[in-house]
């Protein structure tokens, strides 16, 4: 058998291989290497070159030699197919198997098997080559297999493969392959869809017009120099088109873009050059970049910046720029040096310093070419992640954000309608290119549109399209003119399979985990709730006679619950706290407590235990991390978890009927509000700090944070409000009379308003929400369409009193 090639033979193969100039062969041979290696240990130990040589097929008569080797391949692929059959079923391929689909998948599997058993290097190389001959590489394994399989009838081992061969012949896999080919041909650059279909013009942006206009106005004002602002901060969640807007606008306005990229080499030592020239590392380089771009902005920037960085061997940071001169330029910083993310504040301060010094450069005189404005694009994580995450506020400090030369524009999540339109356009475009016949149904697009993150939505679309030719993948809608004209009824709901798939694409697993398990606790299900329950647990006596006694055992396994929460115990407890109140309700089932007092007892009991559990828990949430004794922390968290869970279950009635007065929706579980408020709080803290420092200069006796917060700022707000009102009155009644002088400069006013005006916390349920009950009801996708608020000035006086309407009762 070919499995045991002698050494001599291998050598001859080397020679023959050298003569080979056909890349396909080497590719296909390498793809067949794994089984050979499995058979002989010697070969297995050999390196890549050897494994390339190993297959004798590479010699003169490939077809003849292939079959023996192919059988292991097939075996393997079968194994893999078994492994991936789960995937098949998951993606809706019926288990008996549509043949065509199976073949496509098997092709894919063979590629996968390459990956599994090959050293990674050659694979990489092949991929690189793919730029040159993409279609060959992409499809070759499949093709060569087909060829060899069809052309040979190997007697003994071929038996295994013959059925497959026939199948292949039967259902024209070649067609599928050819389609793939065509795809590959047209998409030579092989970019992902978000890049490929990135908006080319402003009209294509899936962003609210006013937002685009806001950015455009700013940029135009800078270009015509009607404003002296020179820094724009765009912030918002991921995938809301911040960068796309700037790039599209730059294209339209005919502006060059200079961009900071993180250097690739970050190893210390050699990387930072001799003599500690770059002792400060990345931040230093970054500072230099900003400084240089700022200082020499009016000069010919490209040559000066390029060599400057080229000097240091390590600085592979690039400034992407065209050499044409005379065009106005923007500097974009999107990719912030990693060091800013660490807990140390030094790089952060250095960063702020460089920004400040950029802002401090005096404006060029009227005739000189203007400054390139600096555009910072900051992707904020809007939720959850805690005080370590990355926000504009944290990065820039209020001092910079309040700077008169800085403008801040906030991007919201993309509204589903815009997103839907953009996705439809992409589907249509893509269909034109790939001549795909089926597209996603409207429901699928709708579901994708809700995420608010356009990048991930397009990625999800691409992922779905990968399997677009299989049935039941969400791509069953015929792409046709009629559909676009809207003659078909488009509002069929999602099928179960589509939903499963979309869930897998827009993966929110862990969040569901937490809501699910919170539901388990808060529904407090016990054996014996339903009459048909056959199991009645033995009544256990509570250790203390004061505890309420439910003789029915809990259905949830409390010992394992802590492992299933999908989050850490403290967040889980916060989740319980957020949601327990709706379970404290009378009137569900007659034998339950129904009087008002019992209800009071119920929530009072829950809160007692929650309070206890907080005392027992670890301290890490208090701002200071005591990392030194982690084990005790874990233990403390566990104790706290059980106190909270068991205590709440003791206090709640059983069974629970959740109930919400005006609106319903009691089955929804909300993400803990407290975990989402840290960002607002951080902003207030920073603002107050800024105010305190500023105030110290003005008055020598100004005190610390507490004084400012509790005495100074609230009263200043009161005074200011009145003056505002008076000013407006004056404006209304006595035209021509100069308006009253404002007491404080604008930043101070903003700070005061920020720190003192209570607007009510946002809705507690902005986050993904599930209908928590474990069985039954389908999960709904809550639409989170944020209304674009027009910048109407609301008289501050109206916000003074916090009416019940301001606090949204959820």
């Amino acid at each position: 058998m070919a499995g045991l090639p002698s050494k001599k033979r291998r050598r001859t193969i080397i020679d023959s291989e050298d003569e080979e100039d056909e890349p396909i062969e080497s590719r296909s041979s390498s793809s067949k290497a794994p089984p050979t290696r499995r058979t002989s240990t010697r070969t297995a130990s050999s390196n890549k070159a050897a494994s390339n040589k190993a297959p004798p097929k590479a010699t003169a008569k490939p077809p003849v030699k292939v079959p023996p080797r192919q059988s292991p391949v097939k075996n393997q692929s079968k194994k893999l197919a078994g492994k991936y059959s789960l995937l098949h079923s998951f993606f809706g391929v019926p288990p008996e198997g549509d043949r065509k689909a199976n073949e496509v998948v098997e092709d894919a599997i063979e590629e996968v098997s390459d990956d599994d058993s090959m050293p990674t290097k050659p694979r990489v190389r092949v991929l690189k080559d793919s730029n040159l001959q993409p279609h060959l590489v992409v499809s070759k394994p499949g093709l060569s297999n087909v060829k060899s399989a069809t052309s040979t009838k190997p007697p003994p081992i071929g038996k295994v493969s013959t059925p497959t061969t026939k199948k292949i012949e039967g259902c024209h896999p070649l067609k599928a392959v050819q389609r793939k080919l065509r795809c590959a041909n047209s998409v030579i650059d092989a970019r992902t869809w978000p890049e490929k279909f990135e908006p080319q013009s402003v009209a294509e942006l899936a962003i609210h017009k006013t937002k685009v206009k806001e950015v455009r106005t700013w940029l135009e004002n800078v270009l015509i120099r009607s404003t002296r602002q020179r820094m724009l901060v765009l912030k918002g969640p991921a995938g809301t088109g911040k960068t796309a807007t700037v790039i599209a606008l730059a294209k339209e306005l005919g502006v060059e873009i200079l961009e900071w990229r993180n250097p690739q080499i970050t190893t210390p030592g050699d990387a930072y050059g001799e003599g500690g020239a770059f002792a400060a590392g990345l931040s230093g380089m970054f500072e230099e970049f900003v400084g240089r771009a700022g200082t020499f902005g009016s000069l010919e920037l490209a040559p000066s910046a390029g060599p400057g960085h080229g000097k240091s061997p390590a600085a592979s940071s690039k400034i992407t720029t065209n050499l044409e001169d005379g065009k106005p330029k923007f500097i974009i910083i999107e990719d912030f040096p990693n060091t800013l993310f660490t807990s140390s504040t030094v790089p952060l301060q250095a960063f702020r310093h460089s920004i400040k010094s950029f802002l401090a450069i005096p404006s060029p005189p009227q005739g000189a070419p203007p400054f390139p404005p600096l555009i910072l694009i900051i992707t904020e994580t809007p939720s959850i992640t805690g005080p370590q995450s990355f926000t504009a506020h944290r990065l820039l400090s209020p001092e910079i954000l309040h700077h008169p030369l800085v403008r801040e524009i906030n991007f919201n999540k993309i509204a589903p309608t815009y997103m839907f339109r953009a996705l439809s356009v992409i589907v249509a475009k893509e269909a034109r290119e790939s001549s795909r016949k089926f597209g996603p149904s409207k429901a699928v697009l709708d579901a994708l549109s809700i995420s608010g993150d356009i990048r991930s939505a397009i990625m999800g679309l691409e992922f779905l399209a990968m399997n677009g030719d299989m049935p039941d993948t969400g791509f069953q809608e015929r792409i046709s003119a009629s559909k676009r004209r809207g003659k078909r009824p488009d509002d069929q709901p999602l099928t179960a399979k589509e939903r499963a798939m979309i869930e897998s694409v827009t993966n929110r697993e862990s969040t569901y985990g937490i809501f699910h398990s919170i539901g388990k606790v808060l529904y407090n299900k016990r054996y014996g709730d339903d009459p048909e329950d056959d199991y009645h647990a033995p009544p256990l006596r509570p250790p203390l006679s004061t505890l309420p006694y439910h003789a029915r055992a809990v259905r949830t396994n409390l010992d394992t619950l802590i492992d299933d929460t999908g989050t850490d115990p403290q967040t889980f407890i916060q989740g319980l706290h957020e949601n327990y109140l709706l379970s404290c309700n009378p009137g569900g089932v007659p034998r339950l407590p129904t009087s008002d007092e019992d209800v009071v007892d119920c929530y009072n009991g829950c809160l007692d235990y929650l309070s206890d559990s907080d005392i027992l828990g670890s301290r890490q949430w208090n701002g200071y991390n005591n990392d030194d004794d982690n084990s005790s922390n874990i233990r403390a968290d566990e104790i706290s978890f059980h106190t909270a869970v068991r205590g709440i279950m003791l206090s709640l009635p059983s069974p629970v009927k959740r109930f919400l007065e005006p609106k319903g929706g009691a089955n929804k579980m909300n993400y803990p509000t407290s975990a989402r408020l840290w960002k607002e709080k951080q902003e207030v803290v920073d603002t107050v700090d800024w105010f305190v420092v500023k105030n110290r200069v003005i008055s020598p006796c100004a005190g610390g944070v507490n004084e400012a917060l509790l005495e100074r700022m609230p009263y200043m707000a009161l005074i200011e409000r009145r003056r505002d009102w008076a000013r407006r009155q004056q404006g209304a009644f006595k035209r021509g009379v100069p308006a009253m002088e404002s007491e404080w400069d604008l930043p101070t006013k903003v700070a005061i308003e920020k720190a003192t005006v209570f607007k009510g916390v946002g809705r507690p349920s902005d986050e993904p929400v599930s209908d928590a009950e474990e069985e039954g009801e389908p999960r709904k996708w809550r639409k989170k369409e944020k209304q674009e608020l027009p910048d109407v000035e609301i008289p501050i006086g109206e916000k003074l009193v916090l009416s019940d309407d301001d606090i949204e009762d959820f």
Binding site: T345, S611, R619, G704, P714
Partner: protein, 353 residues
């Protein structure tokens, strides 16, 4: 235009309105040439800082009033750098340790050393030593206080310390014994009224006796607060009468509103509304202790005498838990629930809680 509080602040010891005896002593100390370390303590709004600034002026002349603000960077033992703002004049500098958190020891040590090792640059200065004012000295960590104690002895020729604190409770005895303790007690309501009248006169405002009395009472003998209230009242109303309402700060208004809601209804839905208001307050950095305290006082104003002891008891209980726990919202909410429980029990006629 600065606030009245800053605008009409007395700049010299002679101009101070109350505690004349204290002012004279401070003046004598400043002129004696043997100025001791001071620990000035007293409630907030009593005039501690005003007296310190005036004393500094007495020591050095008007040059002490020219202050600037520098940001300095210190390196901690773990090689971490912290930025820190320092208010200083040629003759003194001022630090607030709560700005640096746990690293106050390093900051204090290096700063005092640096200051103490250099002589007074200005040869024409009246005094040979410089003064370091430490605000909020009760928030200094134990470490920092211990470090201070050594420094105070070692560098006494070049350096005097003035510690400012609300109470001496958290200050270690060695420091107390090395400083001259000066208590600045809160002004009486009569003194506050006098100052309000005087300030109104300076501003040309029409002063109302009854209103002044109410402000003085409401301010809790906090002069700064009283002046801010005065200014707010006059800013909000064209014509000020005796019974013009004094606007409360927003956070107090909100807490009063919470108290009313808690009293009115005892349902889970009500707790949810109250919770979102708590969140609003907490997000605006109102300390949880302040919230609990104000809420308790608002509640006991409005509930039956029989309940007051219990309410205070649970308030104290949860206030303690606020400090030992980490999720303040739990304890605030638990207090509300407990109050509802007590009230409900009382209304049902069984006051055995």
């Amino acid at each position: 235009m600065p606030l009245l509080v800053d605008k009409h602040r007395p700049r010299s010891l002679e101009a101070l309105h109350y505690h004349e005896g204290l002012s004279q002593r401070l003046k004598a100390l400043a002129n004696s040439g043997d100025f001791p370390h001071l620990l000035i303590y007293g409630p907030s709004g009593a005039g501690k800082k005003t007296r310190i600034v005036a004393t500094l002026k007495e020591l050095y002349g008007p040059g002490a009033e020219k202050i600037r603000i520098d940001s300095r960077i210190f390196t901690t033992t773990s090689n971490r750098k912290i930025e820190f703002n320092i208010v200083s004049s040629n003759y003194h500098l001022e630090i607030t340790p709560s700005d640096v958190g746990t690293y106050d020891r390093v900051v204090i040590q290096s700063l005092l050393k640096e200051t103490a090792q250099t002589q007074q640059v200005d040869t024409s200065a009246k005094q040979r030593f410089k003064v370091v004012v430490i605000n909020e000295a009760e928030h200094l960590s134990r470490d920092a206080q211990a470090a201070l104690r050594r420094t105070m002895e070692k560098y006494s020729p070049n350096l005097r310390l003035i510690l400012v604190a609300n109470s001496t409770a958290n200050i270690i005895p060695p420091i107390k014994s090395r400083t001259l303790l000066v208590r600045v007690s809160a002004p009486t309501e009569g003194e506050i009224e006098g100052i309000l009248k005087y300030t109104a006169g300076l501003e040309g405002l029409e002063y109302r006796e009854a209103l002044g009395r109410r402000i003085a009472k409401d301010s809790g003998r906090n002069l700064r607060k009283a002046l801010l209230m005065l200014e707010a009242v006059y800013a909000q109303n064209e014509i000020v009468k005796d019974d013009t309402p004094i606007p409360p700060p927003d956070y107090e208004a909100l807490i009063s509103q919470i108290a009313d809601e808690v009293l009115a209804e005892h349902t889970p839905a009500r707790i949810m509304q109250v919770r979102s208001k708590f969140y609003d307050l907490l997000t605006h950095c109102i300390p949880a202790t302040v919230i609990l305290k104000l809420l308790t006082f608002r509640l006991i104003e409005k509930c039956d005498d029989a309940l007051k002891a219990d309410v205070i008891k649970w308030s104290a209980f949860y206030e303690h838990r606020l400090h030992s726990g980490s999720k303040v919202i739990f304890h605030l909410e638990a207090f509300v629930a407990k109050f509802m429980r007590i009230l409900e029990g009382y209304l049902m006629g069984m006051v055995d809680f």
